[in-house]
Symmetry: C3
Subunit: 336 residues, 3 copies
């Protein structure tokens, strides 16, 4: 594809070399001479690269054919899709798929081998249901969802438009709720609520979103959830939040809009997290926290405080020795 | 359902409004006027709710139709099942399921689309095997087990009665065992043992229970395990233990009866935990610990000690400043 | 099997009792009189065992029929395989499996019920594809791979020889990459790269290995990965590394050869770990670290330092009291 065409399609400004024929995208290191890569800074521009063309930010003069973008990474993301266009699944229902006669399928739906669709399920137009995926009774999928192979949607889950579930993800499984039965054992607290997943949510492989005990678990519009994440019953995740791998959100937690969690954050039950709060990897959240701040550590505190205590923690042996020295000096003084 | 009928069936005492027609259960907040909810304390009774009827504990005078229960949450759990009765799977074997001719099926068994049952497997009366579940060679299931879609039981696993496995759970996979081969590599230590899961165990979505290397991994009666939990080879989990999400139990660990673990607890290999020990979320257990106590933190210690050190940890920067001040004062004194 | 035959086949020296008829292998405790067990030390030899025969290390005189091996555990591992030989899957394609007409199958391949093989996939000689496993378009499997039930290989993944994937493992799912779109939301950074898994790799149940965004994620020869592990996009794991359960490796991390990670280690993105580095369970790696050392704690430091600070951490309340005492003494001195 000609560089000029890419520039136009990604909304960038052609800096030079409009006729340059881009064959592929590549990371800076190891790029071949017919590839397009990108830099975000003057420093990156100096890194060795064989890339034949670059996407650069404003204020940087490239030494080869280039496109200038306000946000080079965003432009590059769009260029990837141009040069490596995804192959859309061919509509059609594989003969080995099992579609209950009371299920409703939209137009242009694609259903893979051995997938199963339960009674009363509604599959929106253009949805792709991967091989071996299980869509339970009464599940509703908005248009253009992609359900990768071997996902499981328990009965009653509701998904909006363009929701993507990666392989092995489980939606609307029972929450973990038991009540002491008064004679030393427990009885199951019935998990009869639902899960609602709004438009443009993407959920990673082997992630689990539990159904509510009575009401609903809700993953709001545009939320992105990574692999192996646990979302417990009755949780609400606010619009546009990003939740990295292995994070666990306990029951009845509410996250605000645009919350960002690094890998393996843990959140205790029934807390509320304000809009835009950011959590460093491995943070442990043990109480409600206000939005607009960056948190770290377990128990999680604001990052400046967290860093201070982490630094001091790493110096604990030295601090202990200094304390001992102080004690000895004091004894000497008292002895005098 | 009339409130009087609910009271009778859940073993509670009708306080008033026996003719009140309950249409559904609801959480306190957001309950509609034809719903039943519950309170556990005087404080909760003061929370705004539109619930038409309540379950209350002894000693609390309700202001509307109500049932009095020794344990309101338990009573409410039972009321949920009355008002939202689960729909039992219809017995029958889906034509797309693959049942080996050497497998034995009990009466009233239900097997979903594309599930497969291996040779020599025995499926107890009333079991439900979900779509796409894989029951390996020689697996034995007691009566009334529910195996949700896409679970995998490796050959030789044995389940008791009424065991529930949630979607994507894997039982009796190989433990993680390798031996240095003397020339810089490793050889697999064969994982030839079994897994035994006793009656009334429930295991969460995408949880994994490894088979023993030689002997058995055993999950005893009434244990409840949450999503994404790892149970390594040769582990024993004592009766009635509750293990929350993302917890990991390393090889050859023995947990006593009634052990409770919050989310994402980690237990190192070969340790023994006494009956009734309770572990706060994110605890890290690095040695054997006696029962009947509450533990927290990593390394896990009794909760009072843990809280003390966590509090001091959060004050480390202040402590360091105070130490520096003490040092300066001492220098001043010495200079005099 | 006669003890003499076992000795010969595992490459050990028969110490006595060559005609002893070994019926099974067993752990030391609970072994029956016709079983073979093993000890690694004089101390273990004194533990009560009913084992009829033992594998012992050099320098230990057994009191019963025995085999002497340089490495008794390795010898025992080999004896297990002799006495409990794995039953190889019978070659053949189950009629319910779905093989795309453009897929190529090697000789002696076994494909289980309801598995599916996509167009252009190449399955090497002797591979076993378990029930319900999903092999995507263009996936290449070397010879003798074992893909357990319900695994998912996204399109384009490449596996070497003898790779084992345990049930529910997901290979080449999308990495977690999003770019701010400049108007408060995010756009997906396309995940168009691949995953290469080299020879003799074993990957645990419900583990996830993401595809690269552009280049490749690579798991090198002989790596062993436990259950529920997360390997993010563009990661490289060096030859022979061992990664225990619930560990998470963030994007673009490079591990050297022979790296060992205990359970639930976390590694932040873009760091490099040197050959032979060892990490204790629950370590948190926040920067590049050199090889050949043992690390522990979060943030991970060399084990001696880690242990020192962990010990002092556990004494924090005492240290705080001692600091307060010092302060009071100083005040007394100043008052004088």
């Amino acid at each position: 594809m000609r560089l000029a065409e890419i520039a136009e399609k990604i909304g960038g400004e052609l800096v030079g070399g409009g006729d340059f024929d881009v064959r592929d995208v590549a990371e800076l290191a190891g790029a071949s001479s017919d590839s397009l890569s990108y830099v975000e800074s003057e420093r990156q521009l100096k890194e060795p690269t064989g890339a034949g063309a670059l996407i650069v930010p404003p204020g940087i003069e490239p030494d080869r054919p280039a496109i200038r973008c306000e946000n080079p990474k965003l432009g590059f993301a769009r260029a990837i899709t141009l040069l490596r266009p995804p192959t859309p699944p061919v509509p059609g229902i594989h003969p080995s798929a099992v579609i209950d006669e009371k299920a409703k399928l939209g137009e242009g739906v694609s259903i893979g081998p051995s997938a199963s669709i339960g009674p009363g399920a509604e599959i929106g137009n253009g949805c792709h249901i991967g091989a071996g995926a299980r869509v339970g009774e009464g599940v509703i999928l908005g248009p253009d969802c992609i359900i990768h192979p071997n996902c499981v949607l328990y009965p009653g889950a509701t998904l909006g438009a363009r929701v993507v579930l990666h392989a092995g993800a489980v939606i609307a499984s029972d929450g973990f709720g038991y009540v002491p039965d008064g004679s030393g054992g427990v009885e199951k607290f019935p998990q009869t609520g639902t899960v609602v997943i709004e438009d443009d949510v993407e959920i990673g492989a082997c992630a689990v979103v539990d159904r509510a005990s009575i009401g609903e678990t809700r993953i709001k519009r545009g939320v992105k959830i990574d692999n192996l994440v646990q979302i417990a019953h009755n949780v609400t995740i606010g619009e546009g939040s990003l939740i990295a791998s292995q994070t666990g959100i306990s029951g009845s937690v509410t996250l605000g809009r645009g919350v960002i969690m690094g890998g393996r954050v843990g959140v205790t039950d029934h807390v509320e997290i304000g809009d835009g709060a950011i959590f460093g990897a491995m943070s442990g959240v043990s109480k409600s926290l206000e939005g607009g701040k960056i948190y770290l550590d377990a128990p999680a505190v604001e990052i400046a405080d967290a860093r201070r205590r982490i630094v001091i923690y790493s110096r604990l042996p030295e601090i202990f020795r200094r304390l001992q020295k102080v004690e000895r000096k004091l004894e000497d003084i008292e002895t005098c």
